[in-house]
């Protein structure tokens, strides 16, 4: 909670320090010709009051669940967030699932085949994933799979003629399944797959590297030898004994990556016209929409706090030597 407060203060201070007048930025041409409009704009958004007062007003509203109104969308920021967050969440979660499955598996294989050809190939692939600019990968993927092969649609979360499923979580795939609308489910899956893969590329590489080094460390431990001395099959040794012991550092990096994915989707959302927080934050940042920016920063802070909590809980579950504080 303290962190939230801290972040909001920081955010607020930063936005007020930002050179550039939001009124001018948003009103554009009208600003220069119509001083009346500028004044009204200022009044409406409370920009004419001194800064500390603005902040107090903001905090007060915050405590009542009111995040203020976005200058650009003219809606409550809270509503904006509620609309855009699930889209990003759907993208983030699906890409994380992909990158975890691929990354951890490749990392384990690389560790077991250390320094052999397989390991080198996996190293190239994983470093490649981390070296490829997301925006370029997205465009190349779109070109190949949409433009040329037409296997997947090009943008948005659903085809224009398809209606979204009844709102349950905001994640179209899950909501469609829950409502039994399989055609909607497949359609949203089609739209989801390409951006999720693009987003997963970097993390897949990251997880592969981390898993490899974590597993290599564990493999040297005596209890692995004990497991083999019991005559257990190698797969059991690897998955029950080795992977479990190697998971704490992997969980840490996955948590960090999840935070990054949830909050760093700007480029992909931009290219795939995905209506998520990434797009929202880009518009807010370039349009100097202060309330929206602060709203996004609060969202970011909350995501990291939640992720840290989950990681701590997972630690305690995996490693019995760790106690829950």
């Amino acid at each position: 909670m303290f962190l939230c407060l801290g972040v909001s203060v920081m955010a607020f201070v930063l936005t007020t320090l930002v050179p550039g007048d939001p009124a001018l930025a948003n009103l554009g041409d009208r600003a220069s010709s119509d001083p009346q409009a500028v004044r009204l704009y200022r009044e409406h958004f409370g920009l004419d009051k001194p800064v500390p007062v603005q902040y107090v007003v903001y905090l007060n509203n915050l405590l009542h669940g009111d995040l203020g109104e976005s200058e650009q969308s003219r809606r409550a920021v809270r509503i904006d967030l509620a609309e855009y967050i699930p889209a990003t969440a759907e993208l983030a979660v699906s890409s994380m699932v992909l990158s975890i499955l691929l990354g951890v598996t490749l990392g384990v294989v690389a560790a077991l085949r250390r320094n052999r050809l397989t390991d080198q190939i996996i190293r190239v692939v994983s470093l490649g994933g981390m070296s490829t600019p997301q925006f370029w990968l997205a465009l190349v993927a779109l070109y190949v799979f949409f433009f040329k092969l037409n296997w997947v649609p090009g943008s948005g979360r659903l085809d224009a003629i398809v209606l979204p499923p009844p709102h349950l979580t905001g994640l179209y795939t899950i909501d469609a399944l829950a409502a039994g609308q399989f055609d909607v489910f497949f359609n949203s899956l089609q739209h989801l797959i390409l951006p999720a893969c693009v987003l997963a590329a970097f993390n897949m590489g990251l997880f592969t590297r981390f898993t490899r080094s974590a597993v290599l460390e564990v493999l040297e431990n005596d209890y692995v030898r004990t497991a083999r001395a019991k005559g257990l099959p190698e797969l059991t040794v690897v998955f029950r004994h080795v992977l479990r012991a190697a998971s704490p550092p992997i969980v840490t990096v996955v948590g960090l990556a999840f935070g990054n994915v949830m909050t760093g989707t700007v480029l992909v959302e931009n290219i795939f016209a995905w209506p998520g927080i990434g797009q929202y934050s880009y518009r807010s940042a370039t349009g100097l929409d202060l309330t929206a920016i602060v709203g996004v920063m609060l969202f970011v802070a909350i995501v990291y706090i939640l992720v840290n909590m989950v990681v701590d809980i997972l630690y305690a579950v995996i490693d019995p030597r760790v106690g829950l504080a």
């Binding site: 431990n221 209890y223 004990t226 497991a227 001395a229 005559g231 257990l232 059991t236 012991a245 030597r321």
Partner: protein, 326 residues
């Protein structure tokens, strides 16, 4: 008495950048059921590698020669999957440091029952019962609660008992204990040794006890084979080998022990450092440190010869002369 395990001319080579290195160089011994067979030597003597060779747990890049026959089958000639099935089931091993040899994140129950269920196909309930019985056998108090616990919640001695229980779970015929008491407090050591002795008798187990500690040897081992630099120096019934050592190395080891009655006399160590596989001298490996060494000792590797009933030793220096010169 018939031998349960018969090791014949065992060799183990490790492939290094400078070519194959002989870690174990022609070791032979027999182990009988219901007996504790001691394998003694300093670090670098190859005793642990010998044990790992028996279990098939040698590191990659290691090759074996010779044979190790148990129940009519040569362990070294078996396929790796057949080998794996003998591990835990027919031969089990208990390692030196119980703290690092137990998985820190798995419950005791899991570590006790997983190979029980895999190797013997027991149901969860049966495995649980069997595990509790095992813990009782090794004298762990409150076995039911212990099952739910984790290794870090137990003391060193308890962890070693748990390791022994894990080793005996599938009722193997041979248990290899590698320095089972070295990592433990002196006060706890005696308990573990007593436990091993009792289990050996009760279950008619064959036990290979690997140690450098002569005190442990004399209290527990029935027979002993002393290794030096990958070869056998001397072997025979423990009391005789320790009491009337014939090989200069064994003699040196025994002499180096402090005697309570002679507390004011200076300790007599063996000069020099133990020879490792990379720095093994030509001929008899011990000759640079041996007080009875003759020029011929540098040239030829002394063969292992029988000197008495059940005793063998590998030193060309006339044993009678050696003991008289003492």
């Amino acid at each position: 008495m018939t031998a349960l395990l018969s090791v014949n001319d065992l060799h183990v080579w490790l492939d290094t950048a400078r070519g194959p290195l002989a870690i174990v160089d022609g070791v032979s011994f027999d182990v009988a059921a219901g007996q504790v067979f001691g394998l003694a030597g300093e670090s670098g003597s190859g005793k642990t590698i010998t044990a790992l060779a028996l279990l098939g747990l040698l590191p990659a890049g290691a090759r074996t020669g010779g044979s190790a026959t148990m129940a009519g089958r040569d362990l070294l000639a078996m396929t790796s999957s057949a080998r794996r099935r003998t591990r835990g089931r027919e031969i089990a091993m208990v390692f030196q440091d119980p703290t690092s040899s137990l998985h820190p994140m798995l419950t005791i129950e899991r570590q006790l029952t997983e190979h029980l269920r895999y190797q013997l196909g027991l149901s969860a309930k049966d495995a649980h019962r069997r595990a509790v019985a095992l813990l009782t056998d090794v004298r762990i108090p409150d076995p039911e609660a212990a099952m739910r616990g984790y290794p870090h919640q137990f003391s060193g001695g308890m962890r070693q008992r748990i390791q022994i229980a894990i080793g005996l779970a599938c009722e193997p015929r041979l248990l290899v204990a590698d320095e089972p008491t070295t990592a433990l407090d002196v006060t706890v050591q005696a308990g573990i040794l007593r436990l091993l002795h009792r289990l050996c008798q009760e279950k008619h187990l064959a036990v290979i006890l690997i140690t450098h500690d002569l005190g442990v040897l004399s209290s527990l081992a029935d027979t002993v084979t002393v290794m030096y630099a990958g070869r056998v120096a001397e072997s025979g019934p423990t009391a005789q080998v320790m009491g009337h050592a014939r090989h200069p190395y064994t003699r040196g080891l025994v002499d180096a022990l402090p005697h309570p009655e002679a507390a004011d006399r200076a300790l007599v160590p063996i000069a020099g450092d133990p020879a490792g596989p990379e720095s093994r001298p030509s001929g008899c490996a011990f000759h640079p440190r041996c007080r009875y060494a003759k020029p011929s000792c540098r040239i030829a590797v002394p063969p292992l010869v029988r000197v008495d009933d059940g005793r063998e030793m590998a030193c060309p220096v006339d044993p009678l002369v050696a003991s008289m010169a003492r």
